[in-house]
């Protein structure tokens, strides 16, 4: 074991240690948090698809998602879909986008998906804040966060789709950056909107071992005027439409944050290396080989990167839990790809930041150590 010069350099001064490890950690944390919020928001956009266990969805022809669409097709089509081989069950829902109005204050109104479902079948709330309830036709389930924002709770009245409905229960986890989701019965929806004989979407469950794509093709062939998608495609369309509209800006912010994060990391390591460059020159003069100098700075950079990045990941995971907790309403999901991306980027840039100043020393004649 040789004298651990890299470790000594790194831990020599607490201030410098904090600056180099902290700088890297902060830069990486910035990226992880923004990535995480981005991923969290993106996930939230598809909560309905992610939590309702249908295999295929049938919609009015050309409609591929929920956001800013209306979809209606005749109820009779449900019979035809049921008869397609491979189909186990078909559950219809009605869908519209509406305003929930709980009072006169601006904070007491909000955009929401309104879904009408047949109680006991697919399409209803999947997680309840409190006790699950059987909905009556004049009742509604809204998201608990919306309820808190509006200052209403179970038993209160709220206007949805132009009708006053009694809040029968509260759903959990149906809020995204764009809206929340509220639920009424199929019948309640029909009354509120004055529709009958049509459905918005048919949620299809398949028999065991059926190939979703093959059944989708069969439904498509058997039923006119509809579009059939798998659940994953439905979610993907939803994600894409929302991201085209709003998440693009976040994605741009993320890219900028990533670049800033990498620059800060590179500069941090560069400055830490530069602070010692005279000593590296001296080491060369008294007999260190260039390879030894490179190993030294790479070792030191690797240590500060390791510490800084670990710290960032740890803090990001803590934040994910803390922000996910009820009070803070910031969806954040730290994804492994996001961690991998920042580790890879920071490592490459950090090592460049270490090697570049030393490459200069290595190329130099070491006579300068006698100069002051």
């Amino acid at each position: 074991m040789a004298v651990p010069v890299a470790r000594r350099n790194l831990f020599q001064s607490r201030a410098r240690l904090i600056i180099s490890v902290g700088g890297i950690a902060l830069a990486a944390l910035l990226v992880l948090v923004l990535d995480g919020v981005f991923a969290g928001s993106e996930k939230d956009v598809t909560v309905f698809m992610d939590n309702t266990p249908f295999d295929l969805v049938v919609s009015q022809r050309g409609v591929r998602n929920l956001h800013m669409t209306t979809s209606f097709f005749p109820e009779q089509a449900l019979r035809s879909i049921e008869q397609v081989s491979g189909v186990e069950r078909v559950d219809p829902i009605l869908f519209t986008t509406t305003f929930l109005i709980a009072g006169d204050l601006p904070t007491q109104r909000g955009l929401a998906y309104l879904i009408g479902y047949e109680p006991g079948r697919l399409g209803g709330p999947w997680a309840w804040a409190g006790r699950p309830v059987e909905l009556g036709p004049d009742e509604i389930v809204i998201d608990i966060r919306a309820a808190e924002d509006f200052g209403v709770s179970v038993g209160d009245e709220i206007t949805a789709a132009g009708r006053d409905l009694r809040i029968a229960g509260l759903a959990e986890g149906t809020t995204s950056i764009v809206n929340s989701i509220s639920f009424v019965t199929f019948e309640g929806f029909q009354r509120a909107q004055g529709v009958s004989g049509t459905v918005s979407f048919a949620l299809v469950l398949l028999r065991r071992d059926e190939n979703p794509a093959a059944v989708a093709d069969r439904i498509q062939a058997a039923v006119d005027g509809v579009t059939v998608q798998t659940r994953a495609d439905f979610a993907e369309s939803e994600r894409r439409i929302v991201s085209d509209m709003s998440i693009d800006i976040m994605r741009l912010m993320n890219i900028i944050a990533f670049l800033i994060g990498l620059s800060v990391t590179g500069l941090t390591v560069y400055v830490a290396t530069l602070a010692k460059v005279r000593e590296y020159g001296l080491m060369k003069a008294i007999g260190a080989r260039n390879s030894r100098l490179f190993r030294l700075v790479i070792g030191q950079a690797a240590m500060s990167l390791g510490l800084g990045l670990s710290l960032a990941v740890a803090v990001a995971l803590v934040l994910q839990v803390a922000l996910g907790a009820a009070a803070a309403r910031i969806p954040m999901v730290v994804e492994p790809e996001s961690i991998a991306r920042i580790i890879a980027g920071a490592t490459v840039i950090g090592l460049l930041g270490a090697v570049i100043p030393v490459a200069r020393v290595a190329g130099l004649k070491p006579a300068d150590v006698f100069r002051r």
Partner: protein, 286 residues
């Protein structure tokens, strides 16, 4: 060490010189900014010999030392260290020469600030591939020899100037090189401490048969040296003709000194009338 030690240290004449410089010139830059830092310098230093190189600022002393230390290539001429022709050695083989045959001592110590005293000495043994346990033992012994047993795990910032320079000397000796090259080793030390450091260098030359080249303005090192060389304008000149201005420390030629002063049978030479006046005022004030 007494003042006539120069005559008491006999150098083994039958040996081969360990340092040989042959017609060394060094030119920096070209055209308008061309500087001839060295013009045909010859030098041979025997094992166990302490050679002091003095001379005015800018005369090429550091340049000479850098070339002797294989830190700088001469423009022409030849350098050999311990029988190895340094001038033709490839860049790849220089680290090995520096680490094994040369030890450097600098004016501002140049210790690695994050390493303890003993690690500063060990690290050059690492460069030479010495195993850790052995390097530790050797470093402790070297530091012990220089009276630093109680300072092994001190960081440089916790050491006094004299202690730092002794650590630097231990480091220079770590791989038992044939040659020690010292640039102004006492310039940052007060006179008592500086004297100690030079005494250590003298002892090392005697006991370990090292060739020691010291560049310095420090008059007191003369008494510890076997030879004093005067470098001026990149050439060695006769020492006799030179004197040191007692005020500013500059070297002045006796014959052409701009000012001189006879006082109590002694002659003082000055670089300027200003310095002479300052000297006279100083005496008057006493």
């Amino acid at each position: 060490m007494d003042s006539d030690s120069a005559t008491t240290h006999r150098v083994n004449e039958s040996r081969e010189p360990i340092i040989v410089a042959d017609g060394v010139t060094k030119i920096f830059g070209e055209g308008e900014t061309k500087v001839e830092a060295l013009r045909g310098v010859d030098l041979a230093v025997m094992p166990g010999e302490v050679v002091l190189v003095m001379g005015p600022s800018g005369s090429g002393k550091t340049t000479l030392l850098s070339i002797l230390g294989a830190l700088l290539k001469p423009s022409s001429g030849r350098i050999s260290i311990a029988g190895i022709d340094v001038t033709t050695l490839s860049e790849r083989r220089l680290p090995n020469l520096r680490v094994r045959e040369l030890g450097f001592v600098f004016q501002d110590f140049n210790l690695l600030s994050a390493l303890t005293a003993v690690e500063n000495v060990q690290v050059v043994m690492d460069f030479a591939g010495v195993a850790h346990a052995e390097s530790r033992q050797r470093a402790e012994r070297l530091l012990g020899d220089l009276g630093l047993s109680g300072r092994l795990s001190f960081l440089p910032e916790k050491l006094s100037g004299g202690e730092k320079q002794r650590v630097a000397i231990a480091r220079a000796l770590a791989n038992d090189p044939a040659v020690l090259l010292c640039d102004e080793p006492t310039a940052n030390l007060d006179s008592k401490i500086g004297h100690d450091v030079v005494a250590h260098l003298r002892r090392i030359a005697d006991e370990r048969e090292k060739a020691v080249v010291i560049v310095s303005h420090d008059e007191r090192i003369k008494s510890h040296s076997d030879r004093v060389l005067w470098l001026e304008d990149g050439q060695f000149k006769e020492m006799r003709t030179m004197a040191v201005d007692p005020v500013c420390g500059m070297a002045v030629e006796r014959e052409t000194a701009p000012a001189r002063l006879e006082l109590d049978g002694e002659t003082y030479y000055f670089c300027s009338r200003g310095c002479m006046r300052e000297y006279q005022e100083g005496i008057a004030a006493r």
